[in-house]
């Protein structure tokens, strides 16, 4: 499936409502590093931690900049926790 050929607003990030158009506009604005683009669009900032958006965005960015997906994702780091955790679970113990 080629996301760029779809018609109408195409959501690439359901956590923060980022569309394919937002992604393309950001690339055209001159953001030429994927990690900066990712942070600008808050991809991976939501509860899914990038599981939904990241590969889609990386593939489109790679295609548009002539890089490989591996190269594009080279600076990406997974942040804990894997899923959002209620603060109350951390209120036992501590110094």
């Amino acid at each position: 499936m080629d996301g760029e050929k779809m018609i109408g607003p195409v959501l690439i990030c359901r956590c923060n409502d980022i569309t394919l158009n937002d992604l393309i506009k950001a690339i055209e604005m001159g953001i030429d590093s994927f990690e900066l683009l990712r942070k600008y669009l808050k991809l991976g900032f939501g509860p899914c931690q990038g599981r939904g958006c990241l590969m889609i965005a990386a593939r489109i960015f790679a295609k548009r900049t002539g890089k490989s997906v591996g190269e594009v994702l080279s600076s990406y780091k997974v942040r804990p926790p894997i899923i959002p955790v209620p603060a109350k679970y951390f209120l036992v113990g501590g110094d």
Binding site: N16, M29, G30, I31, D32, S33, F34, E35, L36, K39, Y40, K42, F45, G46, P47, Q49, S75, R79, P80, P81, P84, V85, P86, A87, K88, F90, L91, V92, G93, G94, D95
Partner: protein, 380 residues
């Protein structure tokens, strides 16, 4: 004149911005990783001028003036919603009063609040366990990433060459001049060299020409919650009397950032997460704002403070070299100082001296000459 800047963070980019404003068009900025990959996109986005050294207050007041002007020139965004420093102990209010006298001497209008007044500024604050607060209404916060991207794309549109993933490996000197920098992607020449590569980065690149600077990167561990409707009213709330001064701020996106300085081994654990951060950060902050026990923590990242012995930056020329300048060691204040950093460095490069005299106190020689600057509060 060709200027090469090592470090494409806020300090490096604002240096490029000020050079451009002064007619220097041939500017190249390189970065070891992506632009902003150091402290620039890892900090919590807050600024203030309420410091406890004359150097910091004077420079930060000028920097805030410049940030405000940048709203018009570059369309940057910031809000002045103030810093709230909470005192849990009565004697801390005495200390706050002493600090506020110093602030007023320098025209920074901080004021003391009773527990109830603090509770009006921050609804939900547990006023029963506090003795009062100090409030700085001229402090604030900003959407860091948006502002970075606006500056970055402006510079690129205006001809500044920015090369990410071009790590500087070695400076090459000839007598008292730096002639080039060897990078992962080849050799780059310039007339003037500027290093704004963070603490460790700057220290390592300067060591290749036998210059040593006393800086270590100290890891910091902020947590962020899922986005919530605006509930943290001041830009920053600081729990002064708890060890490691826990603090919190809410981003424009709604995430509440919670952080506390914990005991760390400098530079050893810059990439290792610690489970104890969660409980040690949350516990004191939930005491102050009990509603926080209902939030969900969605992410945790690591940044660092690039610490100098006196917690002030190192600015200016690097003797004996005639064409090498640095700005580093901001000790947690690099973002807020960045506009004035750029202005000072551009003046040093183009006119041989900083536009603000007091910046001369922050030269690299102060460590050798034992003229360290004293600072009482390093939070936020």
């Amino acid at each position: 004149m060709k200027v090469l800047i090592i470090g494409a963070g806020f300090s490096g980019l604002f240096t490029a911005y000020e050079l451009l404003r002064n007619g220097v068009n041939d500017v190249v900025v390189i970065d070891a990783e992506y632009p902003g990959s150091g402290g620039s996109l890892r900090n919590v986005g807050c600024f203030r001028s309420s410091f406890t050294s004359t150097e910091h207050v004077v420079l930060m007041k000028r920097s805030i003036e410049k940030w405000l002007k940048l709203r018009e020139t570059l369309g940057l965004e910031l809000e002045m919603t103030g810093y709230l420093w909470i005192a849990r102990r009565p004697e801390t209010m005495d200390l706050f009063n002493m600090i506020m006298r110093f602030h007023r001497q320098h025209g920074v209008l901080t004021r003391a609040l009773t527990p109830l007044e603090a509770g009006e500024i921050q609804p939900g604050l547990n006023t029963k366990i506090i003795e009062g607060a100090m409030f700085d209404p001229t402090a604030g916060r900003m959407p860091v990433i948006d502002n970075f991207v606006k500056l970055y794309t402006y510079l690129r549109r205006n001809g500044v060459k920015i090369l990410p993933y071009t790590r500087a490996l070695r400076l090459v000197k000839n007598g008292n001049e730096v002639i080039s920098v060897e990078t992962e992607r080849g050799v780059l020449n310039a007339d003037i060299f500027v290093v704004t590569a963070g603490g460790r980065g700057t220290r390592e690149i300067l060591s290749t020409i036998d210059i040593s600077i006393p800086i270590i990167d100290q890891p910091r561990h902020p947590l962020i919650t899922e986005p919530y409707a605006k509930c943290i009213k001041p830009a920053l709330i600081v729990d002064w009397d708890t060890k490691g001064a826990p603090y919190l701020t809410q981003t424009e996106h709604g995430g509440i950032i919670l952080a506390r300085d914990i005991e760390e081994q400098a530079e050893v654990s810059n990439i290792s997460h610690r489970i104890d951060v969660f409980k040690n950060t949350l516990k004191p902050l939930v005491e102050l704002l009990p509603f926080l026990k209902y939030v969900n923590i969605s992410r945790y990242w690591i940044g660092y403070y690039e610490m100098t012995p006196d917690h002030h930056p190192i600015y200016g020329p690097v003797e004996p070299f005639e064409n090498l300048y640095i700005a580093t060691g901001f000790s947690g204040h690099g973002l807020m100082m960045a506009p004035v950093t750029g202005e000072i460095l551009a003046n040093w490069i183009l006119r041989g001296r900083p536009n603000i005299d007091i910046a001369k106190n922050l030269g690299i020689n102060r460590f050798r000459e034992n003229k360290l600057i004293k600072e009482m509060a390093i939070v936020g």
